[in-house]
Symmetry: C2
Amino acid sequence: MEETPEKKIVQLGHGGGGIMQGELIRFITENIPIKQISNGIGVDAYDDGATIPLENYDSEIVVTADGHTVDPLIFPGGDLGKLSVCGTVNDIIMMGAKPLALTSIVLIEEGQTFEFVGKIMDSFNKTAGEAGIAILAGDTKVMPRGTLKEMVISTSGIGIKPKNLIIRDSNCQPGAKIILTGSIGDHGAALIARREGIDLQTELKSDVAMLLPLYNIIKDQEGILAMKDPTRGGLASALNEWAEKSKVSIWIKEEQIIIKKEVKAICDILGLDPLEIANEGKAIICVEATFADHLLEKIQTTSIGHDARIIAEVKEEKSGLVVVQTPLGGKRIVEKPMGELIPRIC
Amino acid sequence: MEETPEKKIVQLGHGGGGIMQGELIRFITENIPIKQISNGIGVDAYDDGATIPLENYDSEIVVTADGHTVDPLIFPGGDLGKLSVCGTVNDIIMMGAKPLALTSIVLIEEGQTFEFVGKIMDSFNKTAGEAGIAILAGDTKVMPRGTLKEMVISTSGIGIKPKNLIIRDSNCQPGAKIILTGSIGDHGAALIARREGIDLQTELKSDVAMLLPLYNIIKDQEGILAMKDPTRGGLASALNEWAEKSKVSIWIKEEQIIIKKEVKAICDILGLDPLEIANEGKAIICVEATFADHLLEKIQTTSIGHDARIIAEVKEEKSGLVVVQTPLGGKRIVEKPMGELIPRIC
């Protein structure tokens, strides 16, 4: 039975970072009357952020927005506070911008203790402070019991970048290399394991981290074409977006993708694909081939990039496709995920 | 029985715009490590927004943040979409800035229809479009049934203003006049009436409106010292904040305050003070006495200011006090509200 458009229902999958998420986001954004300012990056670029070019000034403002609805609020490796700051700041960095400030809107369910709220906010503040980022504006609302579960934080990020620096999803070019800064699926798998009560021998932690060390490298690096943090929908979603928007194909070398054995185990048990699992402290960087090895070495010296690898190459042929190549010469197409059915993962 | 600090519980009153709200906001913000950028207005000014001064540029960025948790989502005179845009844009204008863009984070409960979500977002888009404001970045999360009631929108606003224009809560000066742009309490009273099922002969509507016509006047007006939109906590809260931060007293002429008979009726029935009821389309403007009459006339010509009046005068004596003077010479102190017990009003 087909649903009529009027009766179409919002499902959890519409928040999962895949095709269904794309459908909801298009629905929410398609009728926005003013989608960009001057020749800046607008909301309809569906990039990690947008830009506001300033008149008679050689820099432009970068803005990003994120709702953080993770459950449980405290999870192995992090909590809602740390996740909120990292998620938003990483989006600013993925646009090539220097993060300056955040706004934070904190919704709290009536009945939470000040102690618990304080614990989350201490983590929020500590993460922002360590990175030198100001919290400039905010709002706090209390919602009656039963109308919100515990606590949600919504953040917007503000950064600044030179106008002439173009780092965006649609900028990947044939011949370029793609660097991934570390193992995949840690965040999503750690949350799922905790929620499903899967007992791992060793504790798997979320990779939630701020990618500021990456910003400090790329700000002086030539040849950066695009950057993205593969959160909801994982690497599969992020690479498919690049292939689509840049009208290129992306060829992954399977043996360069690092998947921790705990992540693999969880995915095997639950029938999930690690390529589709959310990360919160990883980045992919598309860089002109000439600069790839040098950039990789620099990233490997940072705290967030020990395990960085060149994982893929960009090609012109078969535009729009993302392909995994196995060491023995096999090939398999990586589809954009449909919509992961794991709610409140970020 | 006194509560120990650890066991202190977040109550609905902590979201009500009064003393309790102040307590929660201080708790949330006091440990923010970086509260301002250069000599800009920081989060600890608790003003309607903050500023980011830009190096070698004569303008500065203004940022604001608002969570919109109104219930019901569609109410007499407006809805969540319109309220979200107006609330945030008005805060930018209250800083004397030109509104440029919004970010919006939309949280939706699983099971809502696309039709209903679309209705709210159409209103959001229409309001922003009419005012020439771009929606630049956003996020959409779907929350499982029972973990959120219906829908919440969090917005951040970005505007721009000349660095040398100082309009802020702490800037009220003795001798200055205070203009109020219209009747008070319409928004809060309309929502309460609807929720409590109070049957008024005429339908009372929320005053939710964008104050852009006011911006168009004040941007070229000398002598503006402070502006504020008296939302949660109403006029009582807004004027007390001014008196406190500017270290002045404020003397209201009771007969200049317009309260619609429906608002008065609802307040009488429920034992509420109209001065403490939320407005969503009104502003108070503190202006040097010389310019007050001229400014008032200009405001009265706009769609949002037909009923504007000079309602009060700023004095040096009795710093911190807000006083209502009756026509017969009586006086009564207007306290900061404790914390209105009406949740999800904005």
